[in-house]
């Protein structure tokens, strides 16, 4: 069966200023372009095209994560709050199993630094979980940037689906089985 037409449910409209509506539409446009692009990176994680080595898998994940960080840095609310990957990880440090400030260089994840940490399947999975946590926080900042509660709800759902797909693909990846 086709998926439910949830988009056609009527909801009480909010009163937003024309400026807020325009800002939301511009943000949504950028978010759609961004998500369409990172989805193409995430497609590499689908079962038939899984990266063939731990190094490639990690490189692919770092590429994805850095795109997300770059996008969120451009959001007005992130600029106002002086968002940085360094600050984000510093604040949340106790919640990461492997990820640390040593993995950041020039405001981005450093593939070389992460490669030095990832020495086994176990550490790959731990660090990929940590990176997913960072992605989740970054995408939540994107969601909060919408003025409209309806758009926040929709984008929360869209990003949750995207992250669930990436998390599932990473979980299935076994670096020890690939050379």
């Amino acid at each position: 069966m086709a998926e439910a037409l949830v988009d056609n449910v009527d909801r009480t409209p909010e009163t937003l200023s024309p400026e807020a509506i325009q800002q939301d539409m511009a943000l949504e446009y950028d978010s759609m372009v961004f998500l369409s692009a990172i989805e193409q990176l995430a497609v590499r994680w689908s079962s038939s095209t899984l990266p063939t080595s731990p190094a490639l898998a990690l490189a692919s994940l770092v590429d994805l994560a850095n795109r997300v960080v770059e996008f969120v840095e451009q959001l007005p609310m992130a600029k106002a709050g002086e968002f940085s990957l360094h600050a984000l990880i510093s604040r949340d440090l106790p919640n990461y199993a492997q990820l640390g400030l040593q993995h950041i260089q020039k405001r981005r994840f450093s593939r070389e630094a992460l490669e030095r940490t990832v020495q086994s399947a176990a550490t790959f999975h731990l660090i990929s979980k940590d990176i997913l946590r960072v992605l989740n926080i970054c995408l939540a900042i994107n969601v909060k940037a919408f003025h409209s509660s309806e758009m926040r709800r929709q984008w929360k759902t869209v990003y949750a689906g995207f992250l669930a797909h990436v998390a599932k693909a990473l979980q299935q990846f076994d670096p020890d089985q690939r050379t």
């Binding site: 998926e3 369409s36 995207f162």
Partner: protein, 140 residues
């Protein structure tokens, strides 16, 4: 059942990526049309028994039967052969475009795409909608 404006069309998307289906749903909704989302050839063909959409966006790479084969099935079926099919693919290569045309597709869109590309395509094949959301994408 609520009345829908005549300009509101039914647009079908067939893609195994939930994210692509969700982006397409948002775009189509903002443009004031209805969306039907399916994730596989089987699901798409089953849905086409019940619904005749005004436009179909079809991913070229699907589990089981691929998008080109589904396109050929659609174009061989008298009840739905008039529905324009737009092939979505991760490659902008001429070969994919040619294969799409040979299968009967009206057009080809390369992923990743911009909402504006989808909008132009929808307007080309469905016309403008009277129900487009206020302020929809004034940025470019």
């Amino acid at each position: 059942m609520p009345q829908t404006p005549e300009s509101q069309k039914v647009i079908m998307v067939v893609d195994d990526s939930q994210t692509v289906r969700n982006i397409m749903a948002l775009i189509v909704h903002r443009l004031g049309h209805q969306i039907v989302r399916t994730r596989s050839a089987l699901e798409a063909l089953s849905t086409l028994n019940e619904v005749v959409p005004d436009l179909i966006f079809l991913d070229i790479t699907l589990p089981g039967m691929d998008g080109l084969d589904i396109c050929k099935v659609i174009k061989g079926h008298p009840r739905i052969q008039h529905v324009p099919v737009i092939i979505l693919s991760g490659s902008g290569q001429e070969f994919d475009k040619m294969m799409g045309r040979l299968a009967g597709a009206a057009d080809h869109i390369t992923k990743p795409f911009e909402p504006e590309t989808i909008r132009k395509c929808v307007e080309t094949y469905c016309g403008p909608s009277d129900s487009a959301q206020e302020g929809v994408w004034q940025k470019p």
